[in-house]
């Protein structure tokens, strides 16, 4: 068992508006997105919330410098739901209790072909656990998929054109 943290890390640097802006195309509805951002940055231990923020911001910078996310193209390549964890006997029958951000599976195709057990297992691993893990994974995978798609477009002889040339910037809204 690891020793307890002597001093809980501070997550005072978190600015939810910046991650909200990053996810504006992945989760277009404002209320849905506010819920997702709260689960990633506002719930759970400070070290998870802070790490989520740092990694998402950095991934967002990579995507921005590569030309921004092509949301339509990513969405077209498929998503799987990120399930909401409730005690099994309380799950509603016939109604999937899932978060409003799905797991974009495009990037996983770099590691395992769609439809293979490995691809499915990877998606399961990424979408399991409490939402400060699973939703953060989904948000990161969204940005990683966007970055990989842009790099692929730049590769010589690329056969996968973008659905559109450039999307809006993920800069935070002006206050």
């Amino acid at each position: 068992m690891p020793p307890p943290h002597r001093n809980a890390p501070s997550a005072a640097f978190i600015d939810p508006a910046r991650v909200d802006a990053l996810l504006a195309e992945a989760v277009p509805d404002d209320e849905d997105r506010a819920f997702v951002v709260r689960c990633i940055l506002g719930e759970g231990p400070a070290h998870h919330r802070g790490a989520n923020y740092v990694l998402l911001r950095l991934l967002g910078m990579i995507v921005d410098r590569l030309g921004g996310a092509d949301a339509a193209a990513l969405r077209a390549r498929g998503t799987t739901p990120v399930p909401m964890k409730v005690p099994p006997h309380l799950a509603r029958r016939g109604s999937l209790m899932a978060y409003p951000l799905g797991l974009s599976t495009a990037a996983l195709e770099e590691l395992a072909p769609v439809g293979t057990p490995d691809h499915a297992a990877m998606a399961d691993c990424l979408s399991d656990g409490p939402p400060q893990h699973s939703l953060a994974n989904a948000a990161m995978l969204w940005l990683i998929g966007a970055a990989l798609a842009r790099l692929e477009e730049r590769a010589p002889g690329s056969a996968r054109p973008s659905a559109r040339s450039r999307t809006r910037s993920s800069a935070p809204p002006k206050r």
């Binding site: 209320e31 819920f35 909401m84 409730v86 509603r92 109604s95 209790m97």
Partner: protein, 217 residues
């Protein structure tokens, strides 16, 4: 309080406890304060606060507010509706009849509503929920999470707001743990008192107001 002492019928404090479970403490406090004021004037309201206030701090707050000139409960459900937003399931934690009635009049009929039927006071829940003609379903602490989801909201009532703290029914703490916080998109508190409680919050519990996604005053 400088109002002259007025003799009130005995048992008002017991009566308050008997009614508060089914109507809510703030709703009952307004009912009692208005009735006592009508029958015994401001002196009667002062006596009510002196006698029953220490046991029922919400009654004390409403009575003191009355004596300070606050003669009407101001409740606007519109900001609460905005906080609930596009949620299509709403679970109510705690009971306050006047605000809840006002909310239900305006709430989209497509929104399903449930109440966690638990109270520190004696309550006939069938009688309470019959007032809503089947519109509000009954759930308990063991089952309300099957109302969770990406389009679900939790609503409770708050009793005053200090600098950073507020006071809510203890049931809120039992219901809204770390797991549940990530299962409901909106965690809404509707403040039903104009001023913070001046006495120890018996029957209630203090928490940070910013632990809610929406605090509506």
């Amino acid at each position: 309080m400088s109002e002259p002492a007025v003799e009130l019928p005995s048992g008002l404090d017991q009566a308050f406890g008997a009614v508060a479970g089914e109507l809510g403490q703030a709703t009952t406090a307004w009912l009692f304060v208005r009735a006592v004021a009508r029958c015994a004037g401001d002196g009667g309201v002062a006596s009510l606060a002196e006698r029953a206030g220490p046991e029922y701090p919400v009654l004390d707050a409403v009575a003191r507010g009355w004596l300070a000139g606050l003669r009407k409960q101001t409740l606007d459900p519109l900001p609460v509706l905005a906080a609930i937003g596009k949620a299509n399931r709403l679970v109510v934690v705690g009971m306050e009849a006047t605000p809840l009635d006002a909310l239900m009049e305006r709430l989209d009929p497509a929104v399903k509503v449930a109440m966690i039927t638990h109270s520190p006071f004696p309550v006939d829940w069938d009688r309470v929920l019959d007032n809503y003609a089947g519109r509000i379903e009954r759930v308990d602490l063991d089952t309300f999470q099957n109302w969770a989801g990406g389009k679900s909201a939790l609503l409770t009532f708050a009793y005053g707001h200090g600098d950073t703290r507020t006071v809510v029914p203890p049931l809120w703490l039992r219901a809204c743990g770390a797991d549940v916080r990530a299962q409901f998109r909106a965690l809404v508190a509707w403040n039903v008192l104009e001023a913070p409680l001046q006495l120890y919050p018996r029957w209630l519990v203090e928490i940070d107001a910013d632990s809610f996604t929406h605090f509506v005053s």
